[in-house]
């Protein structure tokens, strides 16, 4: 199958466009999350998404309605993680673990009680970007604009508080607000990324392009741009390769990302110790 033929399919065009938009979001936010040691928040919110998907399936909500219905649940859970960490005197990772476990438990419980939608639920665990519909793509594009606008507006504040939160606070920056913005933008992105790589592999899309970029970046802006470029290229390659070879798309994207990370790591090592 040649490139023209592959691109002639409507579902491939939608998958490549949607996948690229989501890859940009995951990679850009991933840089902030990785540097703040919050990488696993993606995993935690993905597990909440699992519970939310089960809830949506329980009420027979599908496609766009499902996406729209799980967004508020995931946003509320993201805020819950922040509040738990701030008010309940527990560390961030413990808060993520708690919310994550509640998400999974809710999903398993609903699937068991309702029965009959286990197959649907399974498809969300591993994602299927090739099945993205035009309306889902429109939602993805709208959320892309919202998240990118948020990152652009808060870019310098996010950078400052990622560099050193105490220094940022001592400059009069409202670091609690900045943390909330980051977590909410991440929650929106996780809901979108579920379609590309599935709930199980979302954290990989948040972490891998970012850590690859951090191997080679020479400055913060360079890191953000490199991560976005790596994310887009790996998602496009992953979708195309998996389609041609008849492989699972999410897993292919993740493994290509890992290969890129190994290359970036090798390049860095060779450049430092020729």
């Amino acid at each position: 199958m040649n490139l023209n033929e592959m691109l002639s399919y409507g579902f491939m065009q939608r998958a490549l466009i949607g996948g690229s938009l989501i890859a940009i979001l995951c990679s850009v936010l991933g840089v902030f999350l990785v540097l703040r040691r919050l990488s696993l928040i993606g995993d935690g919110l993905a597990h909440v998404t699992f519970g939310s998907v089960a809830l949506a399936l329980f009420f027979r909500l599908h496609s766009v309605y499902m996406t729209l219905s799980i967004i508020p649940v995931v946003l509320a859970s993201a805020l819950g993680i922040l509040k738990l960490a701030q008010k309940a005197r527990i560390y961030g990772d413990a808060a993520i673990g708690m919310v994550s476990a509640i998400g999974i438990a809710t999903g398993v419980l609903l699937a068991s009680v309702a029965g009959g939608f286990n197959v649907d639920l399974f498809s969300y665990l591993f994602g299927n970007i090739l099945s993205i519909s035009s309306s889902e793509l429109a939602i993805a594009a709208a959320l892309f604009v919202i998240v990118i606008a948020g990152v652009v507006m808060f870019y310098n504040e996010l950078f400052a508080s990622t560099f050193d939160e105490e220094l940022a606070k001592s400059s009069g920056l409202d670091t609690d607000r900045i943390n909330m913005v980051l977590v909410l933008l991440t929650a929106l992105t996780v809901v979108l990324a579920m379609k590309v790589v599935g709930i199980m592999l979302i954290s990989a899309l948040l972490i891998l392009p970012a850590v690859s970029a951090l191997q080679i970046a020479k400055g913060f802006k360079t890191a953000i741009v490199s991560a976005a470029a790596i994310g887009v290229v790996t998602v496009i390659c992953g979708i195309s390769f998996s389609f041609v070879m008849n492989l699972p798309t999410g897993a292919t994207i993740v493994l290509i990302n890992f290969a890129v990370f190994l290359c970036a790591f090798a390049a860095r090592t060779l450049l430092r110790h020729p």
């Binding site: 105490e166 020479k218 400055g219």
Partner: protein, 250 residues
């Protein structure tokens, strides 16, 4: 015009029920260079955190640059240099130029964007501090001394009226430490910037500070350095040898 850079009245503060600062009061005139010293756990860093609003006091009043803390918004008039970065990651992908520019954020309104004036201020500060040649270097690849110099540049990029430093030279070798303090002294003299310096380095206080605040949960001594050197408390604080060391400039 209010010429008080800092005014602290009946300040109490602590952590989890234990009081670290007990009813302290003092004020600092604009242009003073105040050395803050005292034993470990005496409340020096707690005082700095309260001045910067990183910690809320349990009671008392603090006015910074003539404004009560509750209504203070002129963050660009304060420069802060910590002992080191809170959780410094040597692989953090930020250049020297990017780090210094972050200091300009305090003067911005939302959405906080940088412009030509900011680039000019960064250039001018780097030139003054003699670090223009490393502007593109990654912060994590610098030596401890150079990294503190970059953080000082970040603190000074707005030409602050008040510079607050919390043991800024702990990790530096004696030679670097000396040049670091000379730079701050120069800035205090040339730009009339008020300096608050927390340090265990009593020799430095003797050499550069105009005033000394000695804390031990309470204010044990506060006054001009000359008064301190001539006071009977002096020997009690530092011993005979310490007296010579701290007051050797006199």
């Amino acid at each position: 015009m209010n010429d008080k850079a800092l005014s602290v009245r009946n300040l109490c503060a602590g952590y989890h029920g234990s009081e670290v600062l007990q009813d302290i009061s003092f004020s600092v005139n604009a242009g003073d260079y105040v050395g803050i010293c005292g034993p470990n756990g005496s409340g020096k860093s707690t005082l700095i955190k309260i001045i910067l609003q990183l910690l809320a006091p349990t009671s008392g009043e603090v006015s910074v640059l003539g404004t009560p803390q509750a209504s203070f918004r002129d963050w660009h008039r304060i420069g802060y240099l910590p002992q080191g970065l809170q959780f410094f990651n040597p692989h953090f992908p930020a250049t020297v130029d990017e780090v210094i520019r972050l200091g300009r954020l305090s003067a911005k309104k939302f959405p906080k964007r940088f412009n030509r004036d900011d680039a000019f201020a960064v250039d001018r500060t780097m030139e003054w501090m003699g670090i223009s040649h490393i502007r593109g270097a990654m912060i994590g690849e610098l030596s401890g001394g150079l990294r503190q110099r970059v953080l000082l540049a970040r603190a000074l990029v707005n030409d602050p009226a008040l510079l607050v430093m919390d043991e800024p030279t702990t990790a530096l070798d004696p030679e670097t430490r000396e040049s670091f303090y000379k730079l701050i002294f120069e800035m205090n003299r040339e730009k009339q910037c008020t300096v608050l310096l927390v340090t265990h380095d009593t020799a430095t206080i003797g050499k550069y500070a105009s005033h000394l605040l000695y804390l031990d949960k309470k204010v044990v001594f506060y006054g001009s350095f000359d008064d301190f050197c001539n006071s009977a408390e002096m020997t009690g604080f530092f011993g005979e040898h310490g007296q010579h060391l701290v007051c050797h400039r006199h």
